[in-house]
């Protein structure tokens, strides 16, 4: 009984993930597709020929830029978020509640406001329309998530492991790399994945801060959507989804309860 129920739930989850993609795939393999028809007609690979052909270099460049922005953002979010989460998870200090409120701000406040507000500052600082500026604005959205994830990881972290390691002869640096990092690795992967995916799907903030100069994949995608060519937009969407999906698959074994509960 439980086995069957589990299968049904698992099947439901898979269906929920895959179903939205089916029309997308169908769109990308159509030449035209109008409203009352159930199927596109005629079928064709026009869109893919365009995406991989004439627009290929443009899309590859955008893909590379997106990957680079997301990767740098994820790494920075983890590098900053891990010590912050550690401090919040392990130690009590004044203003801890305030920190959690401040952290939720960029999540609650509409991204448009955040990006517009930062834009003025970034212009003054020379960060507007730069790669660094885009990464920074992405960080304002990603960092809260990584901090929250790492906060959870470290609030279940047993510091005795580190003391034991030190007594066995590990230096402070060795404790960090040989004990803390492996113990919290799953949490770090999850935090990094969150940051990567969030950065990957940023559109508005990239547009505002990047000013159209930093053309990430979403920027290109929206431009193509605007031109009204649905099959092309669909195939670019697939190009857009695949790396995110791969990132998810690669980190799959770190997801789940274990990763964010730490080790006792």
């Amino acid at each position: 009984m439980i086995g069957l129920a589990r299968k049904i739930v698992a099947g439901g989850v898979v269906a929920a993930v895959i179903l939205p993609f089916i029309p997308l795939i169908m769109w990308s393999f159509s030449n035209r597709w109008f409203y009352p028809d159930l199927w596109p007609r005629p079928w064709g690979t026009r869109a893919w020929e365009y995406v991989l052909g004439i627009a290929g270099s443009q899309i590859t460049a955008a893909l590379g830029r997106s990957l680079w922005v997301a990767a740098v953002t994820a790494v920075m979010a983890v590098v900053v978020g891990t010590p912050a989460g550690r401090a919040l998870g392990l130690y009590d200090f004044k203003g801890k509640d305030l920190v959690s409120v401040l952290l939720t701000l960029p999540v609650i406040v509409p991204p448009l406001c955040v990006a517009m507000g930062l834009h003025l500052w970034f212009i003054k600082l020379g960060l507007a329309e730069t790669f660094g500026g885009v990464v920074l604005v992405h960080l304002t959205f990603c960092l809260p998530y990584t901090v929250f994830v790492m906060w959870g990881v470290f609030s279940n972290y047993n510091l005795d492991f580190e003391d034991q390691a030190r007594s066995l002869g590990a230096s402070t640096l060795q404790v960090m790399y040989r004990v803390m990092l492996p113990l919290t690795f799953s949490g770090i992967v999850v935090a990094g994945l969150f940051a990567f995916l969030l950065s990957w799907s940023q559109y508005l903030s990239t547009l505002i801060i990047g000013g159209g100069k930093i053309t990430t994949l979403p920027i290109l995608l929206f431009a193509l959507m605007g031109s009204g060519d649905r099959p092309v937009a669909a195939s670019v969407s697939i190009v857009f989804v695949v790396p995110a999906f791969l990132a998810l698959l690669l980190s799959a074994r770190h997801l789940g309860r274990r990763s964010i509960t730490g080790v006792r």
């Binding site: 047993n158 005795d160 492991f161 003391d163 034991q164 390691a165 030190r166 007594s167 066995l168 002869g169 590990a170 230096s171 402070t172 060795q174 040989r178 004990v179 492996p182 113990l183 690795f185 080790v263």
Partner: protein, 353 residues
């Protein structure tokens, strides 16, 4: 070599001092236990020796050198925590080799040493086991092996038996004793279990409320406790008061000769007699009359609470045919009376515990 000296150690976590004026010497090759109830400060003392916390005052010497300013990884003292704390991302061999790897020991020699220690701790054949596949006893042994492999001058064991059930506990205790005897590694062994401390160590040090109360051979602490509190920790329950007069301790339960060296005269002193040393009988052969209040049958012995006037005595006897309310007589064998020296704590104080 391995000699540990703690001088006047004082430790506090922010507010109240946790360890006060602690002095202890562990000689080369010796196994000394640090005994005390939970919360006495035992772990704190170990951590101070290991370098994991800094005493507020005092000095720690290992082999004659002050280690005050050495970080834990540079101290030749390795602490084994109460929980095994095995690294879950490493197998048994990697766990045992952790310290050697941190030191940058050549792999070949490290392997050799790991194998030796695994054999010594009866873990042979488990090299490639994952940590979570081990039983509690095996985990505890891996954690011991992980420290032993480093051959530290001082081995610090924090209640290594407390997580094990009775049977395993005995095996592990014997193993530790055997390894210590074989390697002659200087060991400070923390426990809250008096029987364990008495069985395992060359000398026992008793810590109560952050203060070292008595250090000595197991028999010394057991038979000649320094003060009523120490006696109470080792199971003494019967305390009587009396006045010393011309070499005799006079109490309402009899007059007993004061041991030599007592200079007190006219002072009120406290004496104790262990429950198993008190004699109880339903006949009238003994001088003190009492009534049984309560009986606890404990298997090999029966614990009887006997009220004699205003004092309640606890008697441990091998005879089981008593009943509550019974009128009995008790006897305090003079050679079993322990009269505390005048400078020990007063009786009133211990009553509060």
């Amino acid at each position: 070599m391995g000699e540990l000296i703690l001088k006047n150690i004082n430790i506090r976590y922010g507010g109240e001092p946790v360890v006060r004026d602690f002095n202890l010497e562990v000689r080369n090759g010796e196994m000394v236990s640090l005994l005390g109830p939970s919360g006495a400060g035992k772990t704190t003392v170990l951590k101070a020796v290991a370098g994991l916390i800094r005493p507020e005052r005092g000095e720690i010497l290992i082999d004659g050198y002050s280690v005050q300013d050495l970080p834990p990884e540079k101290r030749d003292a390795v602490m084994v925590f109460q929980k095994p704390l095995l690294f879950p991302f490493m197998n048994v061999m990697q766990n045992v080799g952790f310290g050697l790897r941190m030191r940058g020991e050549p792999v070949r020699e490290a392997r050799q040493r790991i194998q030796e220690i695994l054999a010594l701790t009866q873990l042979g054949g488990l090299e490639y086991r994952k940590v979570h596949e081990l039983s509690g006893g095996q985990q505890q042994r891996v954690s011991l092996a992980r420290a032993l492999v480093l051959k530290p001058a001082i081995l610090l064991l924090d209640e290594p038996l407390s997580n094990l059930d009775a049977n395993l506990r005995q095996q592990m205790r014997e193993l530790i004793q055997e390894i210590q005897a074989q390697t002659r590694i200087t060991t400070l062994f923390v426990t809250h279990d008096q029987a364990e401390a008495l069985m395992i160590s060359h000398r026992v040090s008793l810590l109560l409320n952050g203060r070292l109360r008595q250090v000595g051979k197991p028999r010394e602490l057991f038979y000649r406790p320094a003060d009523p509190e120490v006696a109470r920790f080792f199971g003494a329950r019967n305390f009587i008061q009396g006045r010393v007069k011309d070499g005799w301790f006079q109490s309402e339960f009899g007059t007993f000769q004061v041991p030599q060296g007592f200079t007190a005269n006219g002072d009120w002193l406290t004496a104790t007699i262990r429950p198993e040393d008190l004699r109880v009988s339903p006949d009238s052969q003994f001088e003190i009359q009492g009534e049984i209040q309560k009986i606890n049958f404990e298997g090999s012995a029966t614990r009887i609470w006997v009220r004699c006037r205003t004092t309640e005595f606890v008697v441990l006897t091998s005879e089981a045919d008593f009943f509550p309310g019974q009128n009995v007589r008790i006897h305090l064998p003079p050679d079993k009376i322990r009269i505390f020296p005048p400078d020990s704590k007063e009786f009133e104080k211990i009553e509060e515990i």
